[in-house]
């Protein structure tokens, strides 16, 4: 067996009284894709930050190529060939590809930037990630997210990285970009690079990875080879128990038509029509850029409706602003909870009552507000010690529940959910599904946009599929297959 590229042994790390890692082992072999899994807060990021020199471990050893090393700064990590591709890409949009590739290590001639040499070298680096068709003088802001990621990988490889850490690399990629990325990862693996793959997407991990290491509550649970490993086994290792079901079941209670959307057009959305019933979950599937979020924004009054009508409970409405849409009975859980859903520096209580503060004549009813918040914390099982704590301190799953709680307080008639479980761990997902089911059972009409096909198929009553701004399919979820949805989503017949 070859010498591991990286061996981490018995790593401990605490922040004040909070123990984040307690005796974690991790080993990465050359030429393997190694998944690192665990629920949010399990310690994955901390472990990777130790490996890349951002944090120092309290105890434990790190070896590279079998030799004990001390990685205390990101520069040390670079020296040992360890590079991380962050979830939030670290490129400067207004600079060119070449400028970004050589940022901080510019090639100079007589003290001036040698653009010609950098462009030439940039092309070589881009070729290594199969992106030689890109012009190195193109500005980063003109690239797609997938291309930007390739540039990041090219930069890492150009710095002779032999260990690549990828944190949720497919979160913002289209199907096609994901396939390109996977091919590159497999090529790199075959050339002997070790890849640490951090993701919540089980399907990807089973398709791509050779081994899985699992952390739970800062403790090392184990490493398993992927071939022959059962899905349920992984879930069990992550949450420490078997989940009753990945998707809880719901007793359908579908009522009259609540929302009728006729020939709605605006921005990239072209002539979309559908009906949504009370108590129904209508899944909206499609590739990135298919116009799903844009359609939701039209309904919510965020973008201008150019043509078409929206009828809510028999009344034609034209929402011109979010406040009007909310007034008509809409709620909107946006896809990016940190940028659009939450005020991170405000308390849980203040966030929950943002759409409507319990008040009399503009004066806040503090006891009423606390009671409302307490009720929602209990109903949604939000795990927090204190409703006065800033929501910044909550885990992803709990933050998502706070966003849901905001709208539940209003008792909306139509609730739009845009990627409701993005970045939420397995346990949290099941709880959010349960909440969605409860709402539907209470008669709320739910429009659920999601890029996770298993989620759309299992949670929806019907599925609306969009492609390039148009509705290309409306399927009964019962009996629908991933293939049928994907066919419509790619514009095929």
């Amino acid at each position: 067996m070859s010498t591991p590229l990286v061996t981490m042994r018995d790593i401990h790390k605490a922040f004040g009284p909070v123990k984040v890692l307690e005796g974690v082992d991790f080993e990465l072999l050359p030429g393997e894709v190694h998944a690192l899994m665990g629920e949010n807060g399990a310690g994955k990021s901390t472990l990777m930050k130790i490996l890349t020199g951002i944090y120092a471990p309290d105890s434990g050893t790190v070896e590279v190529d079998g030799k004990a090393v001390s990685i205390t700064t990101p520069a040390d990590a670079e020296k040992y060939g360890i590079a991380i591709i962050h979830q939030e890409l670290n490129l400067i949009p207004a600079l060119s590809i070449a400028d970004n590739l050589f940022l901080g290590r510019e090639i100079q001639r007589f003290g001036l930037l040698d653009h010609r040499a950098m462009t030439k070298r940039a092309l070589e680096w881009l070729a290594r990630v199969g992106m030689e068709r890109l012009d190195p003088t193109t500005k980063i802001e003109r690239l797609s997210v997938g291309q930007q990621q390739m540039v990041e990988i090219a930069r890492a490889l150009g710095q002779n990285a032999r260990v690549l850490i990828m944190d949720e690399p497919t979160a913002a990629l289209t199907e096609h970009e994901t396939n390109v990325l996977f091919k590159l990862i497999r090529d790199l693996r075959d050339q002997g690079t070790g890849i640490v793959y951090v993701s919540h997407r089980m399907e990807e991990i089973f398709a791509l990875c050779d081994r899985i290491s699992i952390l739970r509550d800062g403790k090392f649970v184990g490493t398993r080879p992927v071939p022959g490993l059962a899905f349920d086994e992984v879930v069990k290792m992550m949450v420490g128990r078997t989940l009753d079901a990945r998707f809880p079941t719901r007793t359908p209670n579908i009522g009259a038509v609540r929302l009728k959307v006729d020939h709605v057009t605006g921005g990239i959305v072209q002539d979309v029509s559908f009906e949504l019933h009370a108590g129904e979950v209508l899944g909206v599937a499609g590739l990135l850029g298919a116009g799903r979020t844009e359609m939701a924004r039209l309904l919510f009054g965020l973008d201008k409706l150019e043509h078409g009508t929206v009828t809510l409970d028999g009344k034609v409405i034209t929402p011109k602003s979010p406040s009007e849409a909310i007034h008509s009975g809409f709620g909107f859980v946006t896809e990016d909870r940190k940028a659009q859903g939450l005020v991170l520096d405000m308390s849980l209580r203040e966030n929950v009552s943002l759409p409507r503060v319990p008040a009399h004549a503009g004066l806040i009813d503090r006891p009423g507000e606390k009671k409302q918040t307490r009720g929602l914390i209990d109903a949604l099982k939000i795990r927090t010690r204190d409703m006065e704590l800033d929501v910044r301190a909550l885990s992803g799953g709990n933050q998502q529940k706070v966003v849901l709680a905001k709208w539940l307080a209003l008792k909306p008639r139509v609730l739009i959910l845009d990627e409701p479980t993005r970045g939420v761990d397995v346990g949290g997902k099941a709880e959010i599904y349960h909440i969605i089911n409860q709402l539907a059972e209470q008669g709320v009409a739910i429009l659920m946009i999601s890029s996770e096909l298993p989620e759309v198929l299992a949670m929806s009553d019907r599925i609306l599929v969009m492609h390039e701004g148009r509705a290309t399919g409306l399927l009964e979820a019962h009996g629908a297959t991933q293939e049928a949805v994907m066919t419509a989503a790619t514009g095929g017949k």
Binding site: G16, S323, A325, H327, F332, V343, L354, R385
Partner: protein, 314 residues
């Protein structure tokens, strides 16, 4: 777990109380170093001097909390003071003159708010523009010479005393503090100010109507600046075109010294009061100790920098 919670709360509290601790330390040091410091007369004089800056800084707190800045406060103060004095000179009564001054301040503030919200101009640039514009308007209106106050009872507004002891401006300052404090913590308006500063997009998507809010926020700042302008004109017994020059920086300093984040979304009004008092007592102390005004500026600058460095979030 409870222990950790209390720790984080204690840390926040300590950070917030930094300015209060600074004020107390300054108080003790000045009391020891100058026998004239800890006298009722001196303390009330300082409070009176502080009141103008505090009034402006209260409005500025709302603007900064919402993620903006208002550089036009000093210019609004000068113009509204001049208009008030001018109307009285033209024979109008106190109520009409002062009322017109306050209304003008409110309208000018709302214009700032309109530039920021509907015009989508960055607050710094928008209010820099109105600052310059209003200074010019004031100079044209006054033709550069002071407008004397001709109405004797108007002078009481800024120069009067309660119980022959407490200057009226100090009373105005505390009334404004209580009203603004309640507005910030007890009303939906105040909650939405902080939400906009914390995350404007999230606030908008939650149904907070951003444009009307900004009109109100900058309007409040304009109104309080005008109030400060009326009080100052009354106290000085005349309106000067150059009044309030640089007051915007004192107000911003008071807000920041008080621990309110310039990025918005985090802060409190009590801190602003403490910040204004810190600046006031520092000035007074340096005067009492006979420090030359050249060095006073240096000390003030250093104090502000140290305070902000200590307050910096990790």
């Amino acid at each position: 777990m409870t222990l950790q919670l209390n720790w984080s709360r204690a840390a926040t509290l300590l950070q917030r109380l930094g300015s209060v601790i600074g004020l107390i330390l300054l108080f003790i040091v000045l009391s020891v170093m100058s026998p004239d410091f800890l006298t009722t007369g001196n303390l009330l004089t300082v409070l009176r001097q502080v009141s103008i800056n505090a009034l402006i800084a209260f409005g500025m707190t709302f603007v900064i909390l919402s993620g903006g800045i208002d550089l036009s406060v000093g210019a609004i103060l000068a113009l509204t003071g001049a208009v008030t004095a001018g109307l009285m000179a033209a024979g109008h009564g106190i109520v009409l003159a002062a009322g017109a001054g306050l209304l003008l301040g409110l309208v000018l503030g709302i214009i700032n708010g309109a530039l920021v919200s509907w015009g989508k101009v960055a607050p710094f640039i928008a209010t820099l523009g109105t600052l310059t514009l209003l200074r010019g308007v004031t100079l044209s209106y006054t033709q550069g010479s002071p407008i004397p106050v001709t109405n004797g009872s108007f002078a009481l507004l800024g120069g009067g005393y309660v119980a022959n002891l407490v200057p009226l401006p100090v009373i105005w300052m505390f009334i404004a503090f209580v009203v603004c404090g309640f507005l910030l913590r007890g009303t939906v308006f105040g909650r939405h100010v902080v939400a906009i500063g914390g995350n404007e997009e999230a606030a908008r998507l939650s149904g907070v109507r951003i444009a009307p809010m900004k009109l109100a926020i900058y309007g409040l700042s304009g109104l309080l600046s005008a109030f400060a302008g009326v009080v100052l004109t009354s106290r000085l017994y005349s309106a000067q075109a150059t009044a309030g020059a640089g007051y915007e920086l004192d107000a911003i300093a008071a807000v920041v010294l008080g621990g309110t984040s310039l990025a918005g979304g985090r802060g409190w009004l009590f801190g602003t009061l403490v910040g204004a008092l810190l600046i006031g007592f520092l000035n007074n102390g340096l005067n009492l100790l006979g420090v030359s005004s050249f060095y006073q500026q240096i000390v003030k600058g250093i104090v502000i920098l140290i305070a902000v460095l200590l307050d910096r979030r990790q």
